[in-house]
Amino acid sequence: MKSGWRMRGRLRRLWSIAAGALLIATWVSGATAGQGDDLFEQGNQAYAKGNDDEAISCYQKAIQEAGYSAPLLYNMANAYYRKKDVGRAILNYKRALYLDPGNGDIQANLALARKDAGQVSGPSPLWRRPFDILNVNGWAWMLSGTFGVFSLMILLRGIRPAGFQKRGFRVVMTAAVLLLLTGGVGVTLHIGNLGRGVVTGDHAQLRVSPFDSAASSTPIEDGRIVRMAGTYRDYVWVRGEDGRSGWIKKDAVEPVIPAGKDDLTSG
């Protein structure tokens, strides 16, 4: 009897600690989000007044405080675009589109910026549009959830075969397989951003080897989207959409998906 009381007391204490921790976490995240909201709002006001540098500074601080969001990156890209910094505009449109692939405004402004940089780009093909409903994380969660349901059904059928011989089971399993395939295609289509980068350095040069003294093979324009494959000291090996490849200075190209908030140098 006594041990029962003691057990209940321990449980009550555990619940209190957990609830307290949850409250603190909610308060901290709320406060951070609040700071981010304020900075985002300040950035919007600066943008509306035509003060693009201040707007960019506010947006960057908002990212440092709260994190990334598609509207935040999109607004920052607009400010860069108005500043005629097409490279960073394209970079941030790409990042915004990575978070919200189906957003028409982001797609339109990205196409506009790319056109201004002399790059040909059209709207995404019709077949691809359904896959723009979710971003890569959305598809990954969907894939994971469907895989969980699929595995659970297989497990339950293994435990109680008699209960899972019916038509309903087959329908659920067929639907799960279709969702798995769709999720797989969704992830594959959006995963392409992983190794991508955007040239943000003016007068960047592609070099034949990763040394300062190496001969320059060709210039590469600001705003070019490249695939980054391999680094050596201060150089990254890149291949452009037009097939040109070579070594470029690390500070002249920025990855579409930075490793973390700390990596946010200019974007």
Partner: protein, 644 residues
């Protein structure tokens, strides 16, 4: 006691091996430290020097500024601008030096210095980052006197020496010269021709000859001597062949490159190469006779040792005449291209709207100095927005003398009145015709329509999911900013701390192990169920085992409830199940008579219990709990024995 144990343990250690391994470790660490220090010392070195030649020129003539940078990691030099002087880059060459087996590079940047007026000029120090440190050269002086009466380029000098005399076609006859005949190794430099214009690229072959059987190692790449020529970078892997010259077999290393003269005049062409020869040393044996038993080549090689002999192989200088480019008839768009070229152009796409980018592809093919071939400009660029072109050179030969240079320039038509890409001009100096040639492309017809996006909603091609502003479903023209930019979004939206995809999170990937494990377990169990379903005897066996287990439970319950009748009924059922499975009979049809007849030995306990069951049922005999427990043990043991 404890001390003794410690001493024993210490004695048991393999001290000899530990000593050897420790010494090796210390020696390796020491070697690494020494190596690192040496490397650091070397990498710290690095120099920059600059020269200008000649130091006195006239207006209309040109001098050459040479900047030499040595070091492992050297950046491009920063050339300061000088009022009244025009510095045009004319080439870059690399040389390699070897010092104690460590190869370092010397990069030379050459600039043509063209004065715009007379006077004394000071070229400020040239700076470059070498091995992470900023290095500065000495300032240089250049004196420019009055005009020669020519234009920006120098006229041929009246007292220019006559062209050097060489074999027809420029190629050397494959015979040994007097200076080569008595050498174990020598170097040859063979330009394709011995008269060229300034900037004209001349293919040149550098050959290193080593007598066969002689071992050699190269300490450097061939280096051109003098500063009158710019040379392409040599390939790191020369072609290796064998040649017989005057009956002597040689191993020949060949580098093919191209050189170009950078100033007019007669200059020697020669190169040098550092190598180490392994020279065999024959033992000097004294024989009483003129030729002894061991006086044989085989024994000479067998008994001989080799010594290393560092040599600097220098080719016999050959004079080359460098002619200046004529000033008369020089087109305005001449960029310094010398050789023979062809020009073609195409535009993709040819149909579009005002504001749509068009890719203009221009190809210049032929032979010559492609580094001076630049992209032709659009003649009427006010109707176009043009972008910096990109270029790719595809050489057809290893020297980069022959090939194709392709340019891609994005152009945007700014007016619907445009109906063609105007002709493009490219000028070069033709070395065969000895005159300037201007090539022109045909106009490329285009169909440019007015910008339809000025009328339609610009974002109609991009169906929006997230409204930019509350209440707006799709970006519309009325919301657009000047310049066609869709407006900013007002809500911060969902925020994420990182952009890295969720599947790069180890927790997420680790959590996938749970459904994966469930899937594997489910598949295993499903397969087992399938196997059972396909094997009726196995299924019967399992069913029987289940019923027997149930009978044993009923026996326990009957013992606990002093229910003898129930106990023996459960005993009978259990025994019938096991025997039915064993004999392939219906369990209910098995009687005590069958048991007595068929069951011998192993089933003795079961038979005994079944007899007592009959006695209880028909003679009304009763049994205590202890006796029932004994019967249960007998039955359980008997059933177990029958199972095996």
């Amino acid at each position: 006691m404890k001390r003794d144990r410690c001493l024993d343990a210490a004695r048991a250690l393999p001290w000899k091996q530990i000593l050897i391994v420790g010494t090796c470790f210390l020696f390796t660490a020491w070697a690494l430290v020494i190596f690192a220090e040496t490397a650091h010392g070397k990498s710290g070195a690095g120099e920059i020097s600059a020269t200008v030649e000649p130091r006195e020129i006239r207006v209309g003539e040109a001098a050459v500024l040479s900047v030499h940078i040595s070091g492992e990691s050297a950046g491009r030099p920063s050339i300061p601008e000088v009022d009244g002087l025009r510095l045009v880059p004319i080439g870059q060459s690399s040389q390699y030096q070897s010092n104690n087996g460590r190869v370092s590079q010397i990069v030379s940047y050459l600039f043509q210095v063209e004065p715009q007026h007379e006077g004394d000029f000071t070229l400020p120090p040239v700076t470059a980052t070498v091995n992470g440190q900023v290095r500065t050269s000495e300032p240089l002086r250049l004196s420019v006197s009055g005009s020669t009466g020519g234009g920006a380029y120098a006229k041929p000098s009246a007292n220019l020496p006559p062209p050097a005399a060489h074999a027809p076609g420029g190629r050397e006859v494959s015979r040994l010269s007097a200076s080569e005949a008595n050498q174990r190794a020598f170097l040859r430099v063979t330009p394709l021709k011995f008269q060229a214009y300034v900037g004209e690229r001349v293919p040149v072959e550098i050959q290193a000859f080593f007598r066969q059987g002689l071992q050699a190692s190269l300490n450097s790449f061939p280096m051109f001597q003098g500063e009158a020529f710019a040379c392409q970078e040599l390939s790191r892997k020369p072609e290796q062949t064998e040649q017989i010259l005057d009956g002597i077999p040689y191993t020949v290393l060949t580098w093919r490159t191209a050189m170009s003269g950078i100033k007019e005049g007669n200059y020697p062409v020669s190169a040098a190469l550092n190598a180490t020869l392994m020279v065999p040393q024959t033992s000097r044996r004294q024989h009483p006779f003129e030729r002894g038993f061991f006086d044989d080549d085989f024994f000479d090689r067998f008994f001989s040792s080799t010594r290393e002999e560092p040599v600097r192989m220098t080719s016999v200088p050959k004079e080359m005449r460098v002619l200046p480019l004529p000033t008369s008839g020089r087109p305005k768009d001449f960029s310094g291209a010398v050789g023979q070229f062809s020009l073609s152009a195409d535009a993709i796409p040819r149909d579009g709207m005002v504001g749509d980018p068009i890719t203009l592809k221009i190809t210049i093919a032929g032979t010559g100095n492609f580094d001076r071939v630049s992209c032709p400009d659009l003649a009427t660029s006010k109707d176009w927005r043009t972008y910096t072109p990109t270029d790719v050179f595809k050489p057809s030969d290893s020297a980069g003398y022959e090939g194709e240079k392709s340019f891609e320039r994005a152009i945007i038509p700014l007016s619907a009145a445009i109906d063609e890409v105007p002709p493009l001009d490219f000028s070069y100096f033709d070395t065969a015709k000895e005159t300037y040639i201007t090539l022109q492309t045909q106009p490329i017809r285009l169909r440019i329509a007015p910008d339809a996006r000025q009328v339609q909603a610009p974002a109609s091609g991009y169906p929006g999911k997230t409204p930019a502003l509350p209440g707006a479903a799709v970006a519309s023209e009325s919301r657009r900013e000047p310049g066609g930019l869709a407006p900013i979004h007002m809500g911060l939206g969902p925020v994420t701390a990182r952009l890295t995809p969720i599947f790069e999170n180890p927790w997420f990937m680790g959590a996938q192990g749970i459904p994966l494990g469930a899937l594997l377990v489910g598949l295993f169990m499903g397969r087992r169920n399938q196997q059972r379903a396909n094997n009726p005897s196995l299924l019967r066996k399992m069913e029987a085992r289940e019923r027997i287990s149930r009978s044993l439970q009923e026996m326990d319950q009957a013992i606990a409830g002093h229910n003898g009748e129930g106990f023996f009924a459960a005993c009978r059922r259990g025994a019938q199940e096991r025997l039915g499975e064993l004999w392939g009979q219906v369990p209910e049809s098995i009687t005590l008579a069958d048991v007595k007849e068929k069951l011998k030995g192993t089933g003795e306990g079961i038979r005994q219990v079944l007899e007592n069951a009959d006695a209880a049922a028909y003679a009304g005999r009763t049994f205590s709990q202890e006796e029932l427990r004994d019967f249960r043990e007998l039955v359980a043991r008997g059933l177990k024995a029958l199972e095996n």
